[in-house]
Structures are given as structure tokens and as C-alpha cells.
Symmetry: C2
């Protein structure tokens, strides 16, 4: 059994069942090809089914083909430092922005986790937000087509639209979709409206790249958008990056050793992968050489497959060698360690140089956003 | 039976029962004397029991006596033009500000009525807000000690504090206090937090002059204030100004002819009072001369008593002459008409000259407020 809500992902996740439950669509091979063809570039996260589900992605591509355009929206709720699982959807988002040259809005709902958990303080969350924004700025979005904002700072600019959105959602709906109870605080109850608001920042269609646990918001958005004079939002959903401990579930921010953090050093990465990454190998080298390993349950292999080894040939070779027993677990893990450390080294470097002010206040789009007050 | 909530006041109102139900205190003669003594000036609204109930008014006066000071907070939810009943508590607030030289915050919750009623549009409410702000500015508050703000515009400045407040209030509480249901929209559900926020604008004690139907907000505020590091708010409650049609109930913005509007011309005032003001007179002049009138149910007399005839001697004389039949209904009404028209003429004149910008943006306090972001 699995539980998937925007605040909780637990247990073994059956993605086919999620598609059914949430009422989304699987990305068909044809649609995947069409997306990559439009962008003139292959993408490992699409090819390997890490982004696997969608709503109206076909309509987004239609709009693009007709010259109507579209825009991107994603977000990050500050609740601590970021791990690889938080960054990957942003990397995918950058790929989309680079290819389509469209505006991107990145929301930092600095109230969400604060409202959700008793132990978070406002000051604490602000500290996380500052760190997170650096990580986001490091992804390399187009500084004149990207607006990164904290909900608290941008509240006055969206207030009319926020109220117009909130007016359309009853407690009954919010309760059914998010499982709110009588003990839920009134801030948390209104919060979903703010997560929906950026889908109304332009009169074009909005495309949201995000993990599938965020979809409940888009379901409500799609019920009310047209009544407010906007498009139903489109979405492209990712799976969760499995935790080091096993291929099921989601890398968790609350259990430090299940994740690779963006600030983990080379040694830490090596140690963690070697120690914690669940292995499909055998108990002894002899046995492994004889019987071979199982890449299907091996977290290191799955990470390579989902995200870090774009070369199809090379991946096939690794899989074959591991399955046959020719490649040992330590060797497989080392491949991942090298990939991860290369990825993190680039990230650290970009993070140092990242111009946060540009994305938040000074870029072309940011400047325009600060001059705008949104109303349906 | 009567119903009193912030959005509905119906039926005959038993103020003693309200004090019991709400758990407030009657303003004792001693406390009333003390308040007027501190201010060195008598006030007809206090003397005639129009402001009749309170919370912690004694503690406010203690704080003032000890040099700790306090501040004032009141508001006006834009939902249409303002009538006399809307202005009177503001006139009382000015009296307090003049005497104590304290800061005053006037909130215009431009989302409240919009969220509450399906038929209100955002644009419509903004139009009302603009008109209402002119009327408020005309009251003559100290422009350097007064900050008049719309919730929509000031949202970013209060957002952290708003979230900290909202986190302290469960749906269960809001439901019990305001009668919210599953069909209430999520904006309305969070709204009470924003009405509480200005009580936290200073670390001093807050005193709220307002009609008693607003007290439910202060009840919740008093439950959470100390947990956030602030004082429980104090309040001084007025009765409702009775509608022209009878001494019970509340002058209603939704029934035009029950109220005297701030933009009613001299002739309109005369016509309305003559035609609609419920009279305690007899059916014929002969009968009236013989049996006398009943000032206790006569709306014109009650308005004079509550608000418009500060001279005790003159009021007693009017009462006596009316009760004896010496004064006819038309004559009594004419006294009120003259008072009302004098009051409105002064208001119109001040309204013309009112410097709205000063209260909202340019006065000393306003400037300071726009530079401040509030956090508990």
C-alpha cells in the first residue's frame, strides 16, 4: 500500500495506479518523441520514463506549434537543504526552457511547510529559502525569462488573484483533495489557492514540470481555471527518485542518509553510496561472479538508468555486465559515485557564481513581475 | 430572537444578553467617568450608553496612566457607500485619538465582503474602497499618527505575521466562532487571521472601538495573542444605530431607505426622516396633543439621544415636551433633520478637502508602516 499526497509519500509506489487514481495520462511513446522532436534534443529523463505522466502536454505542443506559446511553472517549498531529488525536476525544467525559450515562474512557498509542521519557525524557513534560492539560481535558467519569488514577498502583487482563486474553492473540496480535518489550521486551508495562482500569470497555457505528488493542486486548478478566464493548466509528472535504501518510495528530506545532498562533499557521496545504496549484488564475490547481480532492484543502477547515464549503449553494457556477474557491486557503485560527484561539482561551481538578484528582482521578467498586480 | 455575527445582525437585540453571550463587560459608570476624566472631555456616545461594553478598557487606562501607552485599531469592510452608522464609530475613534495622542490603524479588508458574497466583484469592491477611504479621511484623524490601508495592498508587509496568526487557528475554532461550514470558501476561512493581525502592530495594548458584532474576532485574538508574544487586545463596543423603521436591529446597507447615507443631500435627509423614521407619535394631532408621544420607541428621539443632542438639558426638554404632547412628531423630526444636515454638511466639506494620500502613504506613521514587514 502506498500513500501519496503533497506532504507525504510512503510505501511502495505503483505509478500505473497513481495515473488511474489521479486521472492523468501516461506519456505515450509518440508524445515523448514529439516533445523531443520539437526540442531537437533527446532527454534521458523522458527516455527512461522518469517523467512518465502528464495532463494536456499534447495541447501545450499544439499551442506551441500554432505560435500561441506557453509558459512554465514549478516550485520548491523550503523545509531544509535540498537533495538531488529536489534539483532534478528543475534540471528538466531548464531543458524545457532552453528548448522552447519560454517564461518560467519558480514559486518558493515559504509559508507551506511552516504552516504544515508545528516545529518549523518562520525564521528557520526563511533561512532555508535563502539557501534553496541559491541552488535554484545555480540550475542556469534564462535570467531574463525566469522569475523566482517567495510567496511572502510577492503577496501584495497577487492578492486580488489569490482571493479570486480562494473564493472558488470550498472547504469541502480542499478537504476531499488534501485530507484536511477540523484540526487543520486556517492558513494551511487557504494555502492551496496560492500554489494555484502562478498558473494564472499568463493567458497562455501553463506547463508544470513537477513530481506527481503535486498533482492534486492541478486537479482543483483545472476545475476553476476557465471560470476565472484562464486555461486549465498542463502538467508533466515525474516519479520520485528512490531513496538509497531501496528502489521503492521517495528520497526523504527527513532521513539524512537516504539522500544525496547538494552540499555533500566527494567523500561523503562515496561513503553514502558505498554504505547505503541498496545493492542487487550477491553476498560474496564468488557467488556474484557465478550467479550475477540484479540491476532491477539495485539503486545505483536505477539512478544511472533514470538520470545519470544518458548513453544508451553504455547503460546496456553496464546492465549486461552486472547481470552476468562480470561487474561487481563496488564497480557499479563507483560509476554512480563518479557521475554524482561530477554533477555536484558543476552545481557547486554554478552555485558560487549564481546571481540570485537577477532571478528575483533584476532580470527582465522579474522587473515586469514587480510592476504587476494580478487580477482575474 | 436575535442573530449577531460579523456578517449578520437580525431581529431585536438584547444587549445585556450579548454581553453575557460574548463574555464582555458592561462599561460601569465609574469606568466611563474615568475614561472621560482622562480625556478631560465628556462624550455623548459614552454618556448615553451607545458605547456600552468593553474588554480590558481598564487595563488600557492603567497602561496609559503608567506611561506605557496603547494604540487604536478599527476598520471598515468596503461593500458599498457608507451611511451614518458606519461613520459614527470612527468619530468616536477620533475623539479617543485626539485626547490620548495615540497611533491609529484603520483596516479596509477589501477581500472580506468579496469573499463573503457571490455577487461582489473585485473591481466593484475596489470602487467602494476608494469612496470609503475618502469618507474615513474626512473624519479628521491625525495624519501623522494614522495609517489607513487596504488589505490587498499591505499583504506583503504583514504576510509573515498573517501566517503566524493563521497557524494558531484551527478550522474547528473558526467554525465554532463564525459558523463556517463545508461550503465556506477557503479565502473566507483564512480571513479572520487578517482582521486580527493589526492588533499585533505594536507591542503595546491595542484598543478597538467597533460595534459589538466584531467581537468574535477579538475573542480568538485573545486566545492566541500571548502565545505570539503580544497583548490580548482590548475593545470598546458600540450598539448598532437603529434603522429608521424602528428602534430594534441595525441600520442596513442592503436596504437603502433604512439608513442616512453620507452622500444624502439635505432634501433627501428631510424626506427620509419625515417618511420613514418610525414615530412614537399618535395617529392624529388631536390625539397626540391629548395623550402625548412615546420617545422610547421614536427613532428620531433615539438618534438624538444616542448621538446628536449632546446637551443634556435640551434633550430632557425635548423628551418632556414630546411625552406630554406639546411637541409634535413633525417638530421632533425637524430637530433631527437639522442636526443630521449640519453633520453631513461638515462631512461633505471635509471630504472634499481630505488628503487621502497622507493617511495611506505619506504621513509619518504611514511611511514607517510601508518600511516595515511584520513578524511575531
Amino acid at each position: 500500500m502506498s500513500i501519496v499526497t503533497p506532504w507525504e509519500v510512503e510505501g511502495s509506489i505503483d505509478y500505473d495506479k497513481l495515473i488511474q487514481e489521479f486521472g492523468t495520462k501516461r506519456i505515450s511513446p509518440a508524445l515523448r518523441e514529439r516533445l523531443m522532436k520539437e526540442t531537437h534534443e533527446k532527454n534521458v529523463m523522458l527516455e527512461r520514463d522518469y517523467f512518465f505522466s502528464h495532463r494536456d502536454l499534447d495541447l501545450v505542443l499544439d499551442d506551441y506549434a500554432k505560435g500561441k506559446g506557453f509558459f512554465l511553472y514549478t516550485g520548491r517549498a523550503p523545509s531544509g537543504p535540498m537533495h538531488i531529488g529536489h534539483l532534478i525536476p528543475l534540471v528538466f525544467t531548464k531543458w524545457l526552457q532552453d528548448r522552447f525559450k519560454v517564461n518560467l515562474y519558480v514559486q518558493l512557498p515559504d509559508e507551506e511547510k511552516f504552516l504544515h509542521k508545528r516545529e518549523y519557525t518562520w525564521k528557520g524557513v526563511q533561512g532555508y529559502a535563502e539557501e534553496n534560492i541559491r541552488d535554484i539560481a545555480a540550475v542556469g535558467f534564462d535570467p531574463d525569462r525566469t522569475f523566482v519569488f517567495k510567496n511572502s514577498e510577492y503577496a501584495s502583487n497577487v492578492y486580488p488573484l489569490l482571493m479570486q482563486t480562494a473564493k472558488k474553492v470550498t472547504f469541502s473540496t480542499a478537504k476531499a483533495v488534501f485530507g484536511f480535518t477540523n484540526e487543520t489550521n486556517i492558513g494551511m486551508i487557504q494555502y492551496p489557492a496560492y500554489q494555484m495562482v502562478p498558473t494564472f500569470f499568463e493567458k497562455k497555457r501553463c506547463l508544470i514540470p513537477a513530481a506527481i505528488d503535486q498533482d492534486p493542486y492541478w486537479r482543483i486548478q483545472r476545475d476553476i481555471a476557465e471560470g476565472l478566464g484562464f486555461h486549465k493548466t498542463a502538467a508533466i509528472h515525474s516519479k520520485f527518485i528512490p531513496p538509497l535504501q531501496g528502489v521503492h518510495g521517495k528520497m526523504s528530506a527527513s532521513v539524512a542518509d537516504t539522500a544525496i545532498w547538494l552540499n555533500d562533499g566527494e567523500l561523503a557521496v562515496r561513503k553514502k553510496i558505498m554504505k547505503y545504496a541498496f545493492s542487487g549484488g550477491r553476498e560474496t564475490v564468488e557467488e556474484h561472479r557465478k550467479l550475477g547481480g540484479n540491476p532491477d532492484v539495485d539503486v545505483s543502477f536505477q539512478w544511472l538508468k533514470m538520470l545519470f547515464e544518458p548513453d544508451e549503449q553504455r547503460l546496456k553494457k553496464i546492465e549486461g555486465e552486472y547481470r552476468s556477474g562480470q561487474m561487481l557491486t563496488g564497480e557499479l557503485k563507483q560509476i554512480l559515485v563518479d557521475k554524482l560527484n561530477a554533477f555536484l561539482a558543476t552545481h557547486r561551481e554554478r552555485r558560487e557564481k549564481a546571481d540570485v538578484e537577477k532571478f528575483m528582482y533584476e532580470g527582465k521578467l522579474a522587473q515586469k513581475m514587480w510592476e504587476t498586480t494580478y487580477e482575474a
